[in-house]
Subunit: 196 residues, 2 copies
DNA sequence: TACATAATTCAACAGGCGTTGAATTAAGGA
DNA sequence: TCCTTAATTCAACGCCTGTTGAATTATGTA
């Protein structure tokens, strides 16, 4: 509770990172619109104007804080190496594995919340990630007609579960063990991948 | 373009309804947060304070404008009369039939957008609708273990598609004919209903 | 016709927001 | 040690928001 003083702090604290973390938390909790610079600054124990010093504007701060977490992207690559019959399960497992991790979740929540709210940057980021990192990779592995549509329907199922579990926290999906969910979801996702 | 005059208008226009329609449109387009009273008033060609005269507060206006459209609820009832083997298809068809109608869609978009944004009223309304009007009715018809979880997963798939098609407008799901989507989604939803 | 009441706008308020520029303090190299 | 530069806060701006109260005009009833 040391009283705030003006001027540079002693030591070499990585204040920039603390701001970014606070931003992710707040954006994840309430989305872009309801998140205020002042609240983020407060959460980071910092003056609001310092945020502008480091990130320029609220939009830019948001843009910086919604980069898809690297571990998530890496994990994804390994999915596409799997054999076709296993694609559904691997996809579901990876998806929830990432989401269950606190650090990734706050970022993803921010993206999802804001994208659904119509925030352009978030929507674009989400669209692009889904298109290039998921659809483009999955579609070729899929049999039957409309492979791209099928791929997006797989993704829709996962997004739907993320919505109900992490955003809206609907029971009993919110507190069910992931294993149960994967067990039920995986076969249906897989069936999209198999022609007919 | 008649210049605005003060005082009561001539004739008997149902201004209240016009305000409500405008509210639905705006809430549907941008969600609760970004929607401003002034924009709604403008859309309804009315002074902002008239909205307060009729609806009291922004929250109350929102609450009034997100009642689940009656046709939607009625349609739903007919689904549960169906035989079990047809449940998936009937559910999917009904769901999209309602969503494809302009009037219902703007309301549903408002609810969905705002619920995802964490707006309490919308989230509660959505939760309650899903619980009492969907889950409570579907669960008893479902075989296997965790019937309630299965029911919610069916709903998740539909919500996921609504998100990608109507909210985020992701291609190719956004402009695919509903028949194609139903054709693909129905069997997977159905398979949740059948035990294992 | 006179009058109560409903419908409508005008003008303003306080509060919160994103943002900016100047002032203050510490760190690090010459 | 001095001085440039980076980190940090202070104080304020202009704007937009939800909201309110008084003023104005029409409707419907007695």
């Amino acid at each position: 509770m040391s009283a705030k003083r003006t001027g540079r702090r002693t030591g070499s604290p990585d204040t920039r990172s603390e701001i970014l973390d606070a931003a992710k938390r707040v954006f994840g909790k309430v989305g872009y619109d309801r998140a205020t610079i002042r609240e983020i600054a407060n959460e980071a124990d910092v003056d609001p104007s310092l945020i502008y010093h480091y990130f320029g504007t609220k939009d830019q701060l948001f843009a910086t804080s919604i980069e898809i977490p690297i571990p998530a992207v890496e994990k994804l690559q390994s999915v596409f190496a799997a054999d076709r019959e296993d694609l559904g399960r691997r996809l579901a497992e990876t998806f929830f594995f990432v989401w269950e991790q606190e650090a990734a979740r706050v970022s993803l929540l921010g993206i999802l919340r804001s994208a659904m709210g119509g925030e352009h940057q978030a929507a674009d980021a989400f669209r692009q990630f889904l298109t290039t990192s998921v659809l483009d990779q999955i579609s070729p592995l899929i049999g039957g007609e409309n492979p791209r549509l099928r791929a997006l329907l797989m993704a829709s199922q996962l997004v739907g579960v993320a919505m109900t579990r992490y955003v809206m926290r609907l029971e009993p999906i919110a507190s069910a063990p992931i294993e149960d969910i994967v067990e039920l979801v995986a076969p249906r996702i897989q069936s999209y991948a198999a022609g007919e």
